[in-house]
Symmetry: C2
Amino acid sequence: MDLSERKLKILQAIISDYVRTAEPVGSRTLSKHPELGFSPATIRNEMADLEEMGYLTHPHTSAGRVPSDKAYRLYVNAMMEKKELSREEKIVIAERLKGSATEFEKTIEHAASILSEITNLTSFALTPKKTEDVLKYINLLPVDEDTVVLMIVSESGKVSNKAIQMNVPYTDENLQLLSKTMTYNYKGKTISQALTNNIIANFETDIVAMSGLAEDVMPNFMRTLEDMLNVNLYMEGLTNIFDIPEYSDLEKAKNFIHMLSQKEELTKKLIERDDGIIVTIGEENADDVMQDCSLITASYHVDGRLVGKIGVIGPTRMKYGEVTSLMEFLTDNLNNTFKLESGGNEDDE
Amino acid sequence: MDLSERKLKILQAIISDYVRTAEPVGSRTLSKHPELGFSPATIRNEMADLEEMGYLTHPHTSAGRVPSDKAYRLYVNAMMEKKELSREEKIVIAERLKGSATEFEKTIEHAASILSEITNLTSFALTPKKTEDVLKYINLLPVDEDTVVLMIVSESGKVSNKAIQMNVPYTDENLQLLSKTMTYNYKGKTISQALTNNIIANFETDIVAMSGLAEDVMPNFMRTLEDMLNVNLYMEGLTNIFDIPEYSDLEKAKNFIHMLSQKEELTKKLIERDDGIIVTIGEENADDVMQDCSLITASYHVDGRLVGKIGVIGPTRMKYGEVTSLMEFLTDNLNNTFKLESGGNEDDE
DNA sequence: ATTAGCACTCCGATACATTGAGTGCTAACA
DNA sequence: TGTTAGCACTCAATGTATCGGAGTGCTAAT
């Protein structure tokens, strides 16, 4: 089942040629490769073998060979070499990320820009899912006779709020009491814990509940917590696919763009992916509309806990080595950036 | 300079045929129109005149005629008839908008969805620019030893906030004093007024300023005000253009999508447009990349003051009558929705 | 003023020949 | 026995020629 040294070399050459040119590569071209000192005929034999084994395909009889998904998988697993970025590139990238360091979301957005610019693919970035963010402080503030503002502050520095229309008259004392009770009950809990353990039951016996205040406030509190879990999806380089030969077919381009326009679904797909750098190639993607794409995602961490994602999507024919190396560098950089800031002064909204 | 009755009829027929079929329309076809009982030859003469006057073009010698931008302009100004929506359509649309009435932004987003679904064009919706929103209440809340939350509430119900890292130690009294001073100074002012009249000078002599507190707070206050002016752009039906013959050319489709991906620029263009229903046709658009598109925007009002926009963009060949009627209905509906709520419980973020 | 008639133009579809890159196979070779 | 040269074959892509049809513009008749 193992491939001979020579077959591997040939396969690698085919992949790298094809990735570069997008044209099926033939035996003649390959025999000119410096690493492959064999005649076209020999290479043809090997290619026939490789095709039988499922690593290559044939668009039609008189065309060269094209790597299959299986070939790319082998390449990514075993043959691909990381392409370390040059010192200059690293500096430029780091600068660009740092240039917007005060604004959390901007930094993420820039990461996506960089990714699409360098790879010439479509990239995206997902802000962290705050499931594990810890509640710190809850307050209720009087505004009007019938309006109260609920404010929630979390460890990561996120501040959320909501104006609540009160059905029941309230007093400042009651508000304060409820704020304190809520803070006492929820402080130190993660958002997901707060959402699953509805502590409203505890209030039942309390004077606050008697006043009906909690009935007005708690549903809004829960909704606001849910809102806090929302993530933002940034996308860059959408039109890059028009320059990729694979998508010179209008129908294909349409499907691609249509898929990427479904932001909610896309977000869901991305969140579900495992941590670390994950490469899924062509048919490995569960999704029908992604059967001829490769998707690469990487996760970054804020404060070592909250997990966000960046990624690229493009044709299966892509420079896996370069892309993954770049993504590795980017996530490392993001991890560091968000570690130093360490829950500092982030931006709301 | 005026066009004869007959010429007008012919032009109208050409436009309506061309809008429907996207094919150049010839004299034969026209002579079969029930309204036009003339022979092809007669119609040809008239068409030649219309072409000379700039209302028609000729893709090539042996092709039918195509309306020019000038023709569309005439059509929109003088010939187009509003197409009242049916009672059922109105009900369905109103229901869809109401279904999300509690969430301001969702309502806007739905308006865009409806617009693109019915017109089969690309649509967008812009949340209102809050320049004229009036400040109501400003508060500073202690969180940490070195963290304070700034909270701003406006008449429209929008609540904004920002966590501030304090460089100077503060006391609760100082915070309260500063909150009160700020509220006193800014309450009743619009956001744009607050942004232009920097009242920080007034504080100079005040004890609060002495403590250095204001220096920490004011820049953040200003930044937050600016953030409050940010608008959101929703876009729907981006891929609809792939079904439009005009964009079966890959290059054109690319340019179109690329233009719409530049969200900031697009937002700026849209905001700048006058109120009411505005139609700009082809070359009337200042922008190079929009020379063969028509853009229709309409404004809706929240509380009669804040102005948001909805719109569609597509090929100059579009059903102006139907689209503008629909947009009129939508904006009327939005105006009412946001009037009844009257600064009620809107959503932050 | 309108229209029938006709020559003319030009696009688009169809058919056909040509080219060239590449294959698979066989037989010769080291 | 593995490698290679040679050769017939395949097939997409390209170019060329032809033809039909839709539509025009002009002229002459009504």
